[in-house]
Amino acid sequence: MVTTFVFVLTAAVMLVAALIAVLKDNLVHAAMGLVVTLFGTAVLFVLLESYFLAVAQVVIYVGAIAILIVFSIMLTRRVGAHWGRQTNATWPWALLTAGVLTVLFALMVRGWDPDAVLPAAAGVPEDITARLGAALVDPNGYVVPFEVASVLLLAALIGAVYVAWGGRKAEKETQG
């Protein structure tokens, strides 16, 4: 019953936050709604007993991506300035699509039993994090995608340094 209570509470908060994220004109408020939605996703991961995924979600999405989004908003807008509308002229079609999807989802979860045991509770092994770590460096596992992702991040880092540095070189050329 505790899990059901937590799930219902989290789902309600997430829905409200998601609506704020897509409907609010004030971009910072919308970004905060996004942050709450991402936190809610982490809580859902915890309910499914994937603890590592939950904290990874918070570290990556809230700690890096959401901060980046908020930084870019704060650097380009003033408080209290006119933000402009979030929705454009095609909103009736979007509402129609959302309504159809909602009806389909409702039909799908018609047989939901609040007291049923979550299926993941039976199958998540104890040492899941250790297994994930082993799989990431296993030659028969995911080591190649792991290395490729590292190279991608390195390329992004070098690109960021070059873009930030290039200004000084240009300055030296104009001075000389």
Binding site: M1, V2, V28, F52, I67, F71
Partner: protein, 406 residues
Amino acid sequence: MAFLQDPTIVVEWLRQLFLGWGLSPSLASLLLYVVGALALATGPLLWVIFLIWFERKAVARIQDRLGPNRVGPYGLLQPFADVLKLLTKEDIIPAKADKVLYWMAPILSLAGVLLLWPAIPLGKGIGGNVNVAVLYLVAVGTLSTFAILIAGWSANNKYALLGAFRTVAQMISYEVPIVLALLVPVLLARSMNLQDIVAAQDVWFVVAAPLAALIFFIASIAEVGRTPFDLLEAESEIIAGFHIEYSGMKFAMFFAGEFLHAFTTGVLGAVLFFGGWRGPGAEAYPLLGLFYLWLKAFLLYFVIVWIRGSFPRVRIDHLLDFTWKFLTPLALVVLMVTALLDKALAAAGPWARALGLLVANGLIWLVVQRWLRGVEKRLEPPMVAQPGQYPVARYTPPEPQAAEGD
């Protein structure tokens, strides 16, 4: 007596009480969780009251003055006076400030600190037992960063926003050495669970990884925003930084959050590097373990206060250079050497491993010292004005007026 051996019988007693009132078992379970959460949230906040007094007294004594000594014996009631003053202050909200975010930021800041406590093991079998506790600590740290960003933005004050940007830059820069230094106890204990890390410390990890402990300590002080890294909130810097527009109880929440965060850093340092709740007799009596943890955490907090009273503030560019050019490479080197050596010494007993790693840390430190000396030699000599070298302003006092009386 049984309570001393196993404090969790309180939980069972409460559960029986709730069942006796006729509640269903699942509702009783839910209520127990709520009661536990409230207790965990309230305890540290009450302890902050003592921390505020202690810090003011300690810093005052370091500065050769008395500190609060009027309100109550030895000034012990001073924090209550502070709280009363802050509660009765006028609650000013700047015009055109973003009201929702302005109100939310101090709460988020304090929440970011309180959320650290559920992961901390307070004794054998009590306290947190989170599977991914170390990563959880990092995740919660990002919440504090967010709170500061919102605080700076919502005040509708470009200087507060600048202060907030600098704070966030400092905090995310210092998260990197913290995470790298946190990896070392995880490596040595083979688990991210803080209870397992405490259980693996037959020899305290500070012996096996003193450099990692030092990096964690320094980077945590910067992460919390204490002196010498409190550029962001000192009164002399861009008018007190991101919380310039906060007054009264909202400012008190930032203030209390910072003290609590400093103490939590002490608790985490004690858990990760100083054996946590372990000590003579702590296995049998979990509350004794809690006392040992508190003692170690308090000693670390005293060191933090001592550092506050002794060091000058670090400039923002020196601060960022320090983390990116010194702490992060050092943490990476320590991590690599510890990983290699720990695998090599895996078969030896705990003391042999610890001493082997201690020797390795000592060697790294010697290499770092040599390198630092080389860097010093290559820097320009400090600017000491030689006579006649630079134009130096000279002060000539005005001629004493004969007409002026004494």
